[in-house]
């Protein structure tokens, strides 16, 4: 893809290479720019880095668990928020990558960094499968709610199929798929270290690794979405026919965005499996499929920052509700959804950040 030079708003001289990509951290497709915003981001990262010093191992491990899901939310944010295709089936890639991680690590073990290779392969598998489904859908001119139905069907087929693989004939190498009961026995992410491998069970070490991944992924997505690729995605979301008339092959872009979303969902899946040493077909079921949509909708789908923050907020909030609210937790969750759609259709976090931004502008004047 030829790097198209975007006219820079401040009319600075054209940049190349790394500078070009760094300049894309800010742009028209993502909220937040300027030193104030980045100061807040740096503060947030520093706070996250020092969090383990103030909290016990369980809370840190729990936070790591929250981080695991953010990739899927960000992936759905790209596919739905930026590209306009509501995918009801991100869990299909989640589950596929999760099982792939399990199968690979059970077969080749965890020595010499094999788990990281397995992670990479699992994510790649998720991405490739998403590209295939994306090709099938977008080159077949499927759009709108039909995308949702097709992706939902895909994830339900996978779930139904995997749920009945309980018998001993269902094995890939040494790994028994084990049907509805789920597959366990895979090792966590393991860092090879002289003197003894470091097993990244849920805890502080895993927290740091995941925090790093989240930050990298977030920054990377910001750069990608402010690049011409992101601009085209938004153009497709706003008016697909116009984008086509301008000469872009929208099917290709949609497929690529869908592949990216699938790879990110796969990353969540593999990390979840590594975190809990367990994966089950119900993570590809109807309820599981609806959850990412809930996170992204409540958080705000039009902006990657809002999606990320919203996902963390909603997951943490739902967990607290379940712990302290017992039976009423689900009622409150439902009410929250209805409230979000009616009052803040762009997402709670998105609207909140917008309002704060406007407040600051007024203050500055």
């Amino acid at each position: 893809m030829n790097p198209i030079e975007l006219p820079d708003a401040s009319e600075a001289p054209a940049r190349r290479g790394l500078k070009l990509w760094l300049s894309r951290l800010e742009g028209p497709q993502t909220m937040g720019r300027g030193p104030a915003f980045w100061a807040v981001v740096v503060l947030a990262v520093l706070a996250a880095l020092s969090y383990p010093a103030f909290a016990n191992d369980y809370v840190v491990g729990n936070a790591a668990y929250f981080f695991v899901w953010t990739f899927m939310a960000m992936g759905l944010g790209v596919v739905w928020g930026y590209c306009g295709a509501l995918s009801f089936g991100q869990t299909a890639f989640f589950g596929l990558a999760g099982y792939a991680y399990g199968v690979i690590t059970i077969n080749i073990g965890s020595a010499f960094g094999a788990t990281w290779l397995a992670l990479l392969l699992a994510v790649a598998l998720g991405g490739v499968f998403a590209l295939l489904i994306g090709y099938f859908m977008f080159y077949g001119r499927i759009k709108g709610v039909f995308v949702g139905i097709v992706t939902l069907s895909v994830t339900l087929v996978l779930e139904t199929f995997m749920a009945q693989t309980a018998g001993p004939q269902w094995r890939i190498g040494d790994a028994r798929l084990n049907g509805f009961n789920g597959m366990s026995g895979m090792p966590p992410l393991t860092v090879p270290w002289p003197g003894g491998d470091i097993m990244l069970y849920s805890g502080t070490a895993l927290y740091y690794v995941l925090l790093g991944m989240v930050v990298l992924c977030y920054l990377g997505l910001r750069m990608l979405l402010n690049a011409p690729f992101g601009n085209v995605l938004v153009a497709i979301r706003e008016n697909p026919e116009r984008a086509e008339m301008l000469g872009y092959d929208i099917r290709l872009y949609q497929m690529l965005a869908f592949g990216l979303g699938g790879a990110l969902a796969g990353l969540s899946g593999a990390l979840y499996t590594a975190w809990g040493q367990y994966i089950t077909p119900s993570s590809m079921g109807l309820t599981a499929a609806a959850l990412p949509i809930v996170w992204v909708a409540v958080g705000g789908r039009r902006d990657i920052t809002a999606t990320l923050l919203g996902c963390l907020l909603v997951i943490a909030g739902f967990q607290s509700l379940t712990i302290y609210g017992s039976q009423y937790a689900l009622v409150v969750m439902g009410a929250l959804l209805v409230f979000t759609v009616l009052v803040t259709p762009d997402g709670l976090v998105f609207t909140a950040i917008n309002r704060m931004g406007r407040l600051f502008k007024r203050v500055r004047r």
């Binding site: 139905i149 069907s153 039976q327």
Partner: protein, 290 residues
């Protein structure tokens, strides 16, 4: 005579699958086809109809009356919901998914808290009949007849009554209808109520044959959803033939290979049909008619 029992059996299986799809998707088809709203709380309207039917039947009402009660209650609840929430979501299909999913969560959990984890059902009426060597439930034949009757009734409603004409006009060209003096908001409300009532009817009709738990809607929702979407926007040109095609596929696969293939086959068929006809069946048929 070997031929009659065999063909009756095939017809019975097909009729069963067809009736299930048509009855369960009618409400969803009206709401989606007419108003562009994706109602994920559809399963909960079915549950509402089923619960009301079961309670009134156990209280002594004859079953047809109890089913009518169930349908009416669901319709009323639907109209209330339309007034408060759905009104703001017309032609915002993606937002309607989320709002109705939230409503579904509230409804299921509220019923669990208030009425407990299960409700006693009523028995299936009308017993069974012997055809060839096997006995068949007569009520299942009644269900098939109801499905056909439902389609016929809806056709009459939408194509032969004044309300139907106004409703179709409002849905196709709301501004024009308003210009001609139609109170579009009332029409939308009534149409949503009709969709909810049809869902309640589905619940009521199937209540005697199923276990009643707050989450019972979930067993209907996927299949009714895919039928509606495969059918496209028009219930008669779309949902009905879609139900027929999917019923054939499901019944055949279940008969030859078992329930697992029936389930998976249905979902795969949906994927293929949408791929081949991206606007759904009704778009395809309309294009073919020209």
């Amino acid at each position: 005579m070997e031929f009659f029992p065999a063909s009756f059996s095939i017809f019975y299986q097909f009729g069963n699958a067809f009736a299930f799809l048509v009855i369960s998707c009618a409400g969803l088809a009206v709401i989606f086809g007419m108003m562009g709203i994706i109602n994920l709380a559809h399963g909960e309207f079915i549950m509402c109809g089923a619960y009301v039917t079961a309670s009134t039947a156990r209280a002594g009402l004859p079953l047809p009356l109890a089913i009518a009660c169930g349908a009416l209650t669901a319709a009323l609840v639907g109209m209330v919901l339309e007034r408060t929430v759905i009104r703001h979501l017309y032609h915002r299909p993606l937002d309607s998914i989320i709002a109705t999913w939230g409503i579904s969560l509230i409804a299921t959990q509220a019923v669990l808290i208030l009425l407990g984890p299960s409700m006693s059902g009523t028995g299936t009426p009308l017993g069974s009949t012997l055809v060839g060597e096997r006995s068949y439930s007569i009520y299942r034949l009644v269900l098939f007849a109801s499905a056909v009757g439902l389609l016929g009734g809806l056709y009459l409603l939408f194509y032969r009554t004044r309300f139907g004409v106004i409703a179709r006009a409002t849905i196709q060209r709301p501004e024009m209808a308003r210009a001609l003096g139609v109170d579009t908001r009332r029409v939308y409300g009534l149409t949503f109520g009709l969709g909810a009532g049809l869902a309640g009817l589905a619940g009521g009709l199937y209540a005697p044959t199923m276990t009643m738990v707050p989450t019972m809607g979930a067993t209907f929702i996927v299949e009714s959803f895919v039928t509606v979407v495969v059918g496209g926007a028009d219930i008669f040109l779309g949902a009905a033939p879609a139900a027929a095609i999917l019923a054939v596929i499901k019944a055949a696969l279940t008969a030859w290979y078992g329930q697992l293939f029936g389930q998976i086959g249905l979902l795969v068929a949906v994927i293929v049909v949408i791929r081949v006809m991206p606007g759904g069946l009704s778009a395809f048929i309309k294009r073919w008619q020209r």
